[in-house]
């Protein structure tokens, strides 16, 4: 390690003005803390969209024209019997009125048996006849209910507004982006709260209320994200215990923890000043910052204490600790930062904010734990009794590390390296099987047994409603919808997609127009064709309103909704490929088939982004680690010792993903970069001790053992602290947080084990005695 005059010079300057600096840092911390408290939750949907992806650009292009995507559905399903009774219809009537009254609801879009837009038609001798499914003079008598049942059967709403088995009905509404009354952007969370209160109002033992819709998802995700604050408290308590156990001193526990919390305050304050809010992903950053901060703080305490035991004055010991750790600590934190910065490769705003927040946090640690902490330490005067206690324990740990150092005996080392290599090969094989995308049913952010996902299952089981939908946009010329040639091609497109494995149903203008044409011809199915005659085609198409989302006003954009059996990456990819093939084979000047809308369309884009970033991220993060390690140590051997275990751990992390059925998604892709960036710390600390020992002229075996005695306990401690910090996420109600927590915990622990077992073993084989 280069012991530069730089750190000596900084040390002189810093400690000469230590009071001024202390005051300055404390004032800054107070300021940032003030800003941090103003941090807002910002879980906007757009932030999850991959930027610049062609699918998303199309989605954005047509978003305003087909805005009806922000829909909420409330279904009331009876536990037993049918819905045709007085009580149920009173409730449905009242629920419909409540939905009308909800803020941000597009009143014209409210649809239930009680709304006037729900009509039935019947083909009779002289054409169509029809009326409201629930007639205007409905008085909720037995006869009235029987009439409604009859009308429902004649309507198109069987399976849509009423279940096929008559055990439930629903109210649907679209939300407006801007509240028409207040002219404010829609408060999604207020809508979510409102929906939850409607559920409370109407749910009884006999009637279950199921609520789905984008607004509800966002509300549930936010609630889940905020629960994390509880985990943060747990983390602080457990970490405090660990630190106390390690340092054996109240003061030496409080100082590194306080500095790490200060780093969190800096991080939150700075990202608030940068204009960012906090979202379900970036809310995890404070944990990381706190844990990384504590681990570096503990290293500082360790060196400071060692100096004290060598008989130095507290102020001198603090100076020495500072100058000894400024470079290795700085390099380690810099590597962390670079690991986080590679995450910027994923062009998804939430992930980028996560990367920025984490980088800011780590930069803050450099100030709080490498500078502020030694300044604070320089004022401490530990008692004689404390020195003895630590010295006693040191004897115990010394024995322990002596035993552990057998890993660097030649035979043992060979065995360990072989085991490592075998694990790598095995892990690599498993790792290649990790699938891109989400592998489970329901909304991937939430747990599969969450109320929302249960509601989704209840609604999709009972109604003919698909929740995994991919929208292909058929872009044609003005009035393309009444051009037979265009519509015939659209009809073939719909049919082609319907034949793709994993597609449940397809809804498009051509299919709709064919059904309507049959309706015009007395309902006989022989006329379920696209009329060749332009006027007749226009007549059929004209009955399809833009609110269906199947056409725009001038008939130039005709979205096709493709309902999928699931949203597995493979299913989505098959559909995407089919659409692209169709465009290549049949698209021409006047008709183009482009992707994509719908939740599955966004997943398609995210999956492609993840697939594209998957390898570059690994390459960049490893290149950064290799370069920085090389710059610090100027030794290929040391770089090898540090990098090989990291590679093994990242491969094993993928293996774990495969076993736990965690897909590679925008939320799990950054984990490896975080894990590798952090894991390099151990190697750096270990080798900086090792080199110091070698400089003293120690033989390899002694130098390694000494390094392990110096840094080993701190490494174990750090691994545990970090694991606790992220491990609590495993209990989060949000699936994304749980996935990230489990993976990170695994990586942090494995990195620790590899650092104390594999690094010395590899070093043994590379270095001469």
């Amino acid at each position: 390690m280069i012991k530069s005059s730089f750190s000596f010079w900084v040390e002189q300057w810093l400690f000469r003005h230590r009071v001024r600096f202390l005051v300055f840092f404390l004032v800054l911390t107070a300021l940032f803390l003030g800003f941090a408290t103003q941090t807002k939750v910002d879980a906007r949907f757009e932030k999850q969209l991959p930027l610049g992806h062609e699918y998303i650009q199309k989605f954005r292009e047509f978003e305003s024209e087909f805005g009806g995507a922000n829909r909420v559905v409330l279904a009331m399903i009876v536990e037993e019997g049918e819905i045709f009774n007085e009580d149920y219809f009173n409730k449905l009537d009242s629920l419909t009125k409540d939905v009308y009254a909800m803020p941000g609801v597009d009143q014209a879009s409210v649809t239930s048996l009680f709304t006037p837009n729900v009509r039935f038609t019947e083909v009779v001798e002289d054409g169509f006849t029809g009326g409201n499914v629930v007639p205007a003079d409905f008085a909720n008598t037995l006869q009235d209910l029987a009439k409604v049942k009859e009308n429902v059967l004649k309507s198109n709403y069987m399976g849509r507004l009423v279940t096929d088995s008559f055990n439930g009905a629903m109210v649907m509404a679209n939300l407006l982006d801007v509240d028409p009354d207040t002219k404010e952007p829609l408060d999604t969370f207020a809508v979510a709260r409102e929906l939850e209160s409607l559920r409370e109002k109407y749910e009884t033992e006999a009637i279950k209320v199921h609520v789905i819709g984008f607004a509800k998802v966002m509300g549930d995700i936010r609630d889940g994200a905020l629960n994390v604050i509880f985990f943060f408290c747990v983390t602080i308590v457990v970490t405090a215990l660990l630190v106390w156990f390690y340092s054996q001193s109240f003061l030496f526990s409080i100082l590194p923890m306080g500095c790490s919390l200060a780093a969190v305050a800096w991080q939150l304050g700075i990202i608030h000043l940068m204009g960012f809010g906090i979202d379900p992903m970036s809310i995890l950053v404070p944990f990381l910052v706190f844990a990384i901060g504590v681990s570096h703080g503990v290293q500082m305490v360790r060196v400071f204490r060692d100096q004290l035991f060598h008989g130095e004055e507290a102020s001198v010991a603090a100076r020495k600790a500072f100058s000894e750790l400024l470079i290795p600590g700085g390099v380690a934190l810099l590597t962390d930062t670079i690991g986080f910065i590679t995450i910027l490769l994923i062009p998804v705003p939430t992930i980028r904010e996560l990367a920025i927040a984490a980088s800011v946090g780590v930069a803050a640690i450099i100030v709080t734990n490498l500078i502020l902490l030694p300044l604070l330490l320089s004022y401490q005067k530990p008692s004689h009794e404390y020195r003895e206690r630590v010295a006693k324990r040191k004897v115990k740990t010394k024995k322990f590390w002596h035993k552990v150092s057998v890993v660097s005996e030649r035979r043992m080392a060979k065995g360990l390296v072989v085991i490592g290599a075998l694990l790598f090969v095995f892990g690599f094989d498993q790792a290649t099987r990790v699938e891109v995308g989400d592998l489970h049913e329901g909304v991937p952010e939430l747990r599969s047994d969450s109320r929302y996902n249960q509601d989704t299952a209840a609604i999709t089981d009972n109604f003919n409603l698909g929740v995994d939908v991919l929208i292909a946009f058929v872009e044609t010329v003005k009035d393309g919808s009444v051009d037979y040639k265009v519509m015939e091609l659209l009809d073939r497109f719909e049919w082609r997609l319907k034949n793709i494995e994993g597609v449940k149903s397809v809804l498009g203008l051509a299919g709709m127009a064919r059904k309507i044409n049959s309706g015009y011809s007395e309902g006989i199915l022989k006329w379920q064709v696209l009329p060749f005659n332009r006027d007749m085609l226009a007549q059929a198409v004209g009955r399809v309103e833009t609110s269906t989302g199947l056409t725009n006003l001038d008939g130039s954009v005709l979205p096709v909704m493709i309902f999928l059996e699931d949203h597995k990456a493979e299913t989505i990819r098959r559909v995407v490929t089919a659409v692209k093939e169709f465009e290549n084979n049949y698209g021409y000047k006047n008709v183009h088939f482009s992707l994509a809308g719908g939740n599955a369309g966004i997943m398609a884009a995210s999956n492609e982004v993840v697939r594209n970033a998957q390898f570059p991220i690994l390459i960049y993060v490893f290149s950064a680690v290799i370069l920085l390690c090389f710059a610090s140590f100027r030794s290929v051997k040391i770089v090898t010792c540090i990098v090989l275990p990291l590679a093994l751990v990242s491969v094993l992390a993928h293996t774990l993903m495969f076993w736990m059925e965690i897909g590679l998604k925008t939320s799990t892709l950054p984990v490896v970069a975080l894990g590798v960036g952090e894991g390099v710390d151990y190697g750096i600390y270990l080798f900086s001790c090792f080199i110091a020992q070698r400089r003293k002229g120690l033989a390899f075996a002694d130098a390694i053992e000494a390094a392990m005695q110096q840094a080993g306990s701190a490494i174990v401690f750090t691994g545990l602290t970090l694991s606790v910090g992220v491990g609590t996420w495993a209990f989060s109600t949000l699936q994304i947080q749980a996935d990230m927590g489990i993976l990170l915990m695994f990586m942090f622990l494995m990195n620790m084990v590899c650092a104390i077992v594999l690094i010395p073993a590899i070093a043994r084989l590379l270095f001469r005695s």
Binding site: V123, V124, E125, D164, D483, Y484, K485, E488, R492, W495, R496, K498, N499, E522, G523, I524, L525, K526, W527, Q528, V529, F532, N533, R534, D535, L537
Partner: protein, 305 residues
């Protein structure tokens, strides 16, 4: 000038879901049956409807009706004046030009023997051949209802039905037609001439069933449904089956004097045409493919009488 749509057609796509698509017409002979429908789908079975194989078709247009003339020759008609013929028992199909008008839809085809055949369609279109389909002659007439079905009685009498209560009868193999006053304005979608009597059954909109006996006027039969009745067939045992609304058919007894509902396995499938296969099973084309109901299942329903 009104923009004219471009005439486009091409071979049908062989699709895994062809047997779950909208099928509209079926005919059979011995163990073989052919079902036709949307997107030019032609499906063939050699084992009384247990397995169906999609055949290559030169058209994507919706096919409405099929008629098996003999072991080799089969005719199919459809929308946009589509006519197809196979001369090898349904393996290969070629387009036959009878009329070149994309706005004419052919709705039914019938051959009474190997040389004499008829095609009827929209707006009163009616073609006939006496040379096995080598040449077709358009028979102009004043009325222009959609003709939905042409059928022959065992005694050679021909019946043609369609919109506006149209019921035409011909005693001379279609040389001349005699309109009957049906005293009904609605559409008749089909006619089922009964085998062992001179009666015929007419059916159409709103579950309407009429029975017509030679020399007497039409008699309205009480119907258990108000769904449209698209097609009908008489079984070998004399009972009738009519295709009704979603998931339902009507089973007729006593020469079509009494009807009761016969449920289809798929409650949402709308039946469109029927054929009793050689082994007695009933093959039903629907908007969700073709269904097979065995004779045993059919006979269970008889017990409910």
């Amino acid at each position: 000038m009104k923009p004219v749509a471009e005439k486009i057609d091409g071979p049908s796509l062989i699709a895994s879901l062809a047997n779950h698509s909208l099928l509209l017409g079926i005919d059979g002979e011995a163990g073989r049956s052919i079902a036709v429908g949307e997107r030019g789908h032609i499906l063939l079975t050699e084992n009384n409807g247990k397995n169906w194989i999609q055949k290559k078709s030169p058209t994507r247009r919706t096919l409405n009706s099929v008629c098996i003339v003999d072991q080799k020759t089969i005719w199919i008609v459809g929308h946009q004046s589509t006519v197809l013929r196979s001369q090898d028992g349904g393996e290969n199909w070629t387009k036959i030009q009878v009329l070149d008008d994309p706005e004419t839809s052919f709705l039914d085809v019938l051959f009474v023997d190997s040389s004499r055949g008829f095609i009827v369609g929209s707006y009163g279109k009616y073609f006939s051949t006496i040379d096995g389909g080598e040449t077709w002659v358009e028979n102009e007439q004043e009325d222009d209802p959609h003709f939905y079905q042409i059928a022959s009685q065992p005694n050679g009498v021909l019946w043609m039905v369609g919109e506006f209560g149209t019921v035409w009868k011909s005693n001379n193999q279609g040389e001349s037609w005699e309109p009957l006053d049906s005293q009904y304005d609605g559409t008749f979608f089909g006619v089922v001439p009964l085998n062992k009597s001179s009666s015929i059954i007419l059916h159409g909109l709103q579950g309407n069933i009429f029975r017509f006996k030679k020399g007497s006027i039409l008699k309205k039969i009480e119907s258990p449904t108000n769904a449209i009745l698209q097609r009908g067939v008489q079984l070998k045992d004399g009972r009738l089956v009519l295709a009704a609304g979603a998931g339902e058919m009507l089973l007729g007894a006593r020469d079509g004097r009494l009807f009761q509902v016969l449920a289809l396995f798929d409650k949402t499938a709308v039946p469109t045409d029927l054929w009793q296969a050689e082994d007695g099973s009933l093959l039903v084309t629907t908007d969700r493919g073709v269904f097979r109901m065995t004779l045993d299942e059919l006979n269970k329903s008889r017990l409910d009488d």
